[in-house]
Structures are given as C-alpha cells and as structure tokens.
C-alpha cells in the first residue's frame, strides 16, 4: 500500500513538472506579475531559432489620461490617439478622436506634465479649429506642422500657434482632382520640404516645397505581379472578367519617419506572406531623394520582424508582423512596432536584429493597439490607440551596453568596443553581434585563430574568411620548411624507386644475356 502511494506521488511529481515546463515553454502569453517573462525579450539566432534574451528595455512609466489630469481638466480622455512626436523634451500626441494635440513635457527623471493643448490655430486673429489630426511634426525652430485630416490640409504654425502656411490639395494634373486631400502622416526635411502620406494616393509620398508648392510624388511602391497571375490575366481572362477583377495598383505606405540625414524611412503593411519570404515585400524601406529603397540588409534574414507566424485562425493574432510605425535613433538604429502582436523590433544600420520584445495584453509592457513609436535619446515611447496611453521604455544595463558597443565601434574605438561586447556576451551568450564584435577586435590584435573562433560562433563568413586567410598565411610561413620537405619527399620517391626498378631490370637482362651466351 505504502509502495503504491510512493509510486503515485512520484507520478504526480513528474506530471506537475511536465505541466510546469509546458507553462514555461509557452512564451509570450505567460507573463509574470511585473509584465516580464523569461522570453519577453528575445532574438533569432543564425538558424532562425528563437533565443530568449535578457531584457533590453523595461517599462519605466505609463503615461495615461488620468495621470496627465485630463479627467479633471475637461473630462475628455485620449480618444483613439494616432500619432506621437518627440522634439527635445516635449512629446506631442495627436488625440485624433478629440480633435486636439497634447503637448507633454517629459523629464529625464521620469516626471511628466501636460504642457498645453493645441486644438486651434490662430489665422490672423481668427481661430480655426483642428479637425481629427492624424500626425504632427515639430521642426528645429519649433514650428508645428499638423496633418489636419478633417480640414483637408497640412497646417504650419509657429510655436505660439500663429498660422504661417497651409499645404492643401495640389491643383496639378498629376494629382487626381476627384480625391480629397487627406494627409495621414507627415515629415519635414532639413530644408523645410514636406513629405505627406495622403490617403487614397498610391503614387508615393506627396512632396511640397517649403513655400507650399506641390512638386510631385516620390517613392511609389512597385506593383508586384507574379508571372502566373500575369499570364492568367493577360491571356485567359475575358474583357468582362478583367474589368471585374481587382486592378494591380501600388499600395500605400503605412507610416513614415525621417532620420537625421534626411532619409525617409517608410513602412508598408500591405503585402502577401509569400512575398515576405523572398524579400519582395520590403516592409521597411529607406528612401533616398529620388525614392529608391537604400536600406542595408546584411543579415541572413531581412528586417521583417518575426520570422515565423501562425496561419490565420479564430485567434486574432496571426500572420506576419505589420509595422505601424518606425523611429530612427541618431546612430541609425531603427525601431519598428508591430500592431499584430504588439511587439517592438530593433535593428542596427546593417539590418541585424538587436532585440525584440513586447506582447498583446493589458499589463504594462503589453499593447492592444500599438500605433506609434517615438524616441528621446534611447528611451522609447509607444502609443496605444485602444488603451489611450503612452508606455515609456528605458534601456536596461544590457540594452545600454549594446548601444555603447555599437557606438564606440562606429566611432573607431575598436578596443573599448570589444570590452563592451565582452560584457554583453556575459549577459547574453546567445548574441551573435557580441561574438562578431569581439572577433573584430581580436582580428585587429592579430589573434587570428581566436578571431576565427568568435566569427564561427557568430556565423560571420566574410570576417571568418578574412581572419582565416591571415591565419593560413601565418601557418604556411611558419611551416614552410616542412611543406617543402614533404613535397620533396613525395617528388623524389617515385624518381628513386623508378631508378631502382630500372637497375634491377638491367641486372636481370644482363644475367639473361649471359645465360644465352653460355647456351651458345
């Protein structure tokens, strides 16, 4: 009886253990009370397998309507806010549902306060309402640009909200005059040119000069048609079928952002999963002045967010990552936010994923409707349109070390970069970037063998080849006499053995000739 009991207890223990491990193995949906699980932050290794990672970012504050005092002020909480913009210490939130823009001062120490509410623009003494603003941009001179969607205009005002300029529907023939001018996203470059993402316009970004003159479109999405589809439509469909089937038109971008050098980063969310696999979809682009994509992709996988996803089910979470917004740090690291799973992905200037974190949910650090992302220094601000709040993320020790390692490397200080990568490696031994960084420093110190070892761990073929060539040269120089000796032996053996055989043969022939003579 007791034995039976013991066996049963053992079984229960095993069962419990199994349950426990399955609970842990299920990653993002099993969060601890503080909103973090072991796999809240993760990365992909060379093989595309998910590797849990230390947290690169943690939530420091959640800025919501109640804490901002909006309840007491006028009782209007943030309603479907659509965009976020950061300039200096000021955070501008497009409170689209309430037709206003909130200016929030955010201090380094985490204190924040509502600065002012922008809902009217002063046109020569007359106040004009803003109607459902979709985006806001503030330039270096603190001029405020608002994508005044409901009034079909982009309005430029100075910091005291005095009207300066308006960008409205171009009268140019290239702009379809049947369409309303519905600006959704705007960026302004250093020269004051405005690039606007306009709803229903699929020719690219609408470009205006600083004086408000429309000068064309840039960066139209290419139309992707598969060969099979083309043949089907071109040769097998009748005229009626063709007119009824959907036309091939370029898709619109989802969001845009401008970096310090004036390059526009655009995200695209309309594509098929198939295109994504072969990197035809290009969900993230970096557009130059003529609208060509010049984003660098040096990793094995292009920057597409999650590499694996569920097919569509009843569950809401399915399909590939769809990036609703992008923000670019001064060191060309860009951060994307995915609305499908509420995840945030960081990539460096070479297109290598630095970290990924986030999930869906109501706790801090999880999102329901992530819609916009901004940065101040390395702090990240993520706007959730359904929760109506802004989550502030601050980099952890791990995240900060990654950034400073990258920056010291870019600054040319390779040795201190290697020291930092070493520290990163101690925090996360599954981080290829760290191996590569250490390998580079070792290569510079002429430690080829060690460098090769690190490059192999990072699966960096290019650098491994470089280190290997030097190592091979060194090895050949060291062992040149052995090589010569072995080659000489290999060459001499056949020559000598041939001669010996010949001599033997001659002796035999000589003996035989003697025998013949004797016979005679």
């Amino acid at each position: 009886m007791t034995r039976m009991k013991r066996v049963l207890t053992c079984l229960m223990c095993v069962l419990l253990l199994v349950c426990e491990t399955t609970a842990l193995a299920d990653d993002s949906y099993d969060l601890n009370k503080d909103g973090f699980s072991t796999s809240y932050t993760y990365g992909y290794d060379y093989w595309g397998d998910v590797q849990a990672s230390p947290d690169a970012y943690r939530v420091s504050e959640v800025i919501d309507s109640v804490h901002l005092g909006l309840d007491l002020l006028d009782g209007k909480r943030m309603n479907k806010p659509q965009a976020l913009f950061a300039r200096g210490n000021d955070l501008y939130v497009c409170d689209t549902g309430n037709n206003r823009i909130l200016q929030i001062r955010y201090e380094e120490n985490g204190e924040y306060s509502l600065q002012r509410i922008i809902d009217k623009v002063n046109i020569g003494g007359e106040l004009s309402d803003i109607k459902s603003p979709y985006d806001v941009y503030v330039d270096e001179q603190d001029n405020i640009y608002v994508a005044d969607y409901g009034n079909f205009r982009v309005v430029k005002m100075d910091k005291d909200l005095n009207w300066i300029l308006e960008f409205t529907k171009p009268s140019d023939a290239t702009f379809d005059q049947n369409l309303d001018f519905l600006p959704k996203k705007i960026v302004i470059d250093n020269a004051g040119r405005l690039y606007a993402l306009v709803q229903n316009v699929n020719k690219g970004l609408v470009k205006f000069e600083a004086d408000g003159v429309f000068t064309g479109f840039i960066g139209a999405n290419n139309v992707v048609v598969s060969t099979a589809e083309y043949i089907w439509k071109r040769y097998f469909q009748t005229q009626e079928q063709r007119s009824k089937s959907e036309a091939f038109v370029p898709t619109e971008y989802e969001n845009i952002c401008i970096d310090k050098d004036g390059f526009i980063y655009a995200t695209n969310t309309v594509f098929s999963e198939y295109d994504l696999k072969w990197d035809n979809a290009k969900p993230v682009r970096r557009l130059n002045g003529v609208g060509t994509d010049i984003l660098i992709k040096n990793d094995r996988y292009p920057p597409i967010g999650d590499l694996y996803w569920e097919e569509q089910t009843n569950n809401q979470v399915y399909g590939p990552s769809r990036f609703t917004d992008i923000t670019v740090f001064d060191n060309d690291i860009y951060v994307l936010v995915d609305r499908i799973r509420g995840r945030i992905f960081g990539y460096d200037s070479q297109g290598i994923m630095l970290w990924a974190f986030g999930t869906k949910g109501n706790i801090d650090g999880a999102f329901n409707g992530a819609v916009s992302i901004e940065h101040m220094g390395y702090d990240l601000f993520v706007l959730d349109q359904l929760k109506g709040n802004i989550t502030v993320f601050k980099p952890t020790e791990y995240g900060t070390k990654i950034y400073s390692a990258i920056e010291t490397y870019l600054a040319g200080d390779y040795d201190s970069s290697a020291t930092l990568w070493n520290e990163v490696m101690k925090l996360n031994a599954n981080y290829p970037m760290a191996f590569r960084g250490i390998g580079r420093a070792l290569l510079r110190q002429d430690k080829f063998k060690e460098a090769m070892d690190y490059f192999e761990r990072a699966h960096d073929r290019d650098n491994y080849g470089r280190a290997f060539k030097l190592y091979r040269k060194e090895w050949v120089e060291k062992n040149v006499w052995w090589i010569v000796l072995i080659l000489a032996v290999l060459l001499l053996i056949p020559v000598i053995s041939g001669r010996i055989n010949r001599m033997k043969w001659e002796v035999i022939m000589h003996e035989q000739s003697k025998v013949h003579k004797d016979g005679n």
Partner: protein, 232 residues
C-alpha cells in the same frame, strides 16, 4: 573416416580461400574498371552491361560512398560554404533521402524501359547508375578537406568543382542509360522524363497502399474494440 573428413575440409578451405581470392581479384578489377568507365563512358558502359564487366559489390561500394559523401559533406564542410544546421541533422534521414529516390528512379526506369525494348536488366541499370555516381564522391570527398583550407572569397573554386562533379555525374548517367538500353540520345532523353513520371506513379501507389492498409487496420482494430466493449 576422420582422415577423409579432414582432407575434405582441407580441400574445402583451400577452395574457399581460392574463391575468396577470386572474388577479391574481380572486386579489384571492378574498382579499376570503374576509372575506365568514368573516363571512357561510351565504351565503358557498353562493356559494363553487355560484356558483364559490372560488379554488384563494387556498385554497392560506390553507392555507399555516395551516401557517406552526403553525410560527411553536411557534417565536415567548413561553415563558410554550407549552411547545415548540425543540431537538427539526422544522418540516417539524410542518407535515406538520397537512397530511396535513387532506388525508386532505378526501378521506374527499369519498369518503363522493359516495355519499350530497353536491353538493360534491373541489375544492369542499378550498376550503371552506381558507377555514374562516382564523380560526385570522387570530387566532393576531397573537397570537404579542401573547404577547410579555403577562405570565403575563394568560394568560386569550391562551387566550380562542385558543379563539375554534378555535371560529370549527370552526363555519365545519361550515357550509362543510353548504352545499357542501346537507345538513341533522343529516346534516352524522353525516357528520363518518363522515368520521373514513373517514379511519381510508384510514389502514389505506395502512398495509396499505405493509406488503404492503415484504413483496413483501423477497421479491424475498431471492430476488436467494439467486440471487447460488448463482451465486458
């Protein structure tokens, strides 16, 4: 009595030794002949099939080396030239994923060509195809070693040799089939396509067979369960 037996065993063992030696000699001759085949394919394959110069043991050796080459290539090639997730690789799976298609294609080719006056028996086809695989492992096995002495920007050297081995083997397979069946080049080409179709049909039949088998088994199992349920 005992003496006679001992004499008999003595001659037996002598015979056996002689047989072993003869076998070993023909095996060695077969190995040597293989190099004649790959360098003079038209002549070599003809004699292989029609002058009985083929040797099944040698052919098996070549096939084994071909499979070994596949496994070693995945495990030992320098990571600069190959992306093999070693942690996920099952060497038997890798070997069988080559062996089974090879055998199915041989079978399909035999099945199709016997119907259209191909001269080759299954054994001839099998031996010829095994001989045709020689360049693959002959070049790629040393290349595994070489890959560990090359840098990434010398990859063209590696890939050129790799493609030479494959093209050579494909050429040998084509000539081999042509000579074994005494076909014209055009007919051989047609039958290459027919062979692939035949292999697909074999695959389909096997799948149908197993699915029917599992259905039948399922029927009996459920019947047994039902009976047991009723009886208790």
């Amino acid at each position: 009595m005992s003496r006679a037996k001992s004499i008999k065993t003595a001659t037996d063992s002598a015979e056996r030794a002689a047989g072993r030696k003869a076998w070993w000699d023909s095996y060695k001759a077969g190995l040597k002949y293989a190099f004649h085949v790959i360098s003079h394919p038209f002549d070599g394959f003809w004699d292989l099939a029609h002058e009985h110069k083929g040797n099944l043991a040698v052919a098996n050796t070549f096939l084994f080396l071909f499979l070994l080459n596949r496994v070693l290539k995945l495990l030992c090639t320098n990571f600069q030239f190959i992306s093999a997730p070693v942690q996920h690789i099952n060497i038997f799976e890798e070997a069988f994923s080559l062996l089974i298609p090879f055998l199915v294609l041989c079978l399909a080719n035999w099945a199709m060509t016997t119907l259209f006056d191909g001269k080759g028996r299954f054994k001839d086809i099998y031996i010829a195809m095994c001989y045709a695989l020689i360049p693959i492992w002959l070049i790629q096995l040393p290349l595994i070693l070489v890959s560990n002495m090359l840098a990434f920007d010398e990859a063209s050297f590696y890939s050129v040799l790799m493609s030479i081995s494959v093209i050579w083997a494909a050429f040998l397979a084509f000539v081999g089939l042509m000579e074994v069946h005494d076909y014209s080049p055009g007919k051989t080409f047609v039958f290459l396509i027919v062979t692939v179709v035949g292999a697909a049909i074999i695959l389909f039949l096997v799948l149908v067979f197993f699915s029917l088998l599992s259905d039948a088994l399922g029927y009996f199992i459920s019947m047994y369960r039902e009976i047991v349920y009723r009886l208790y």
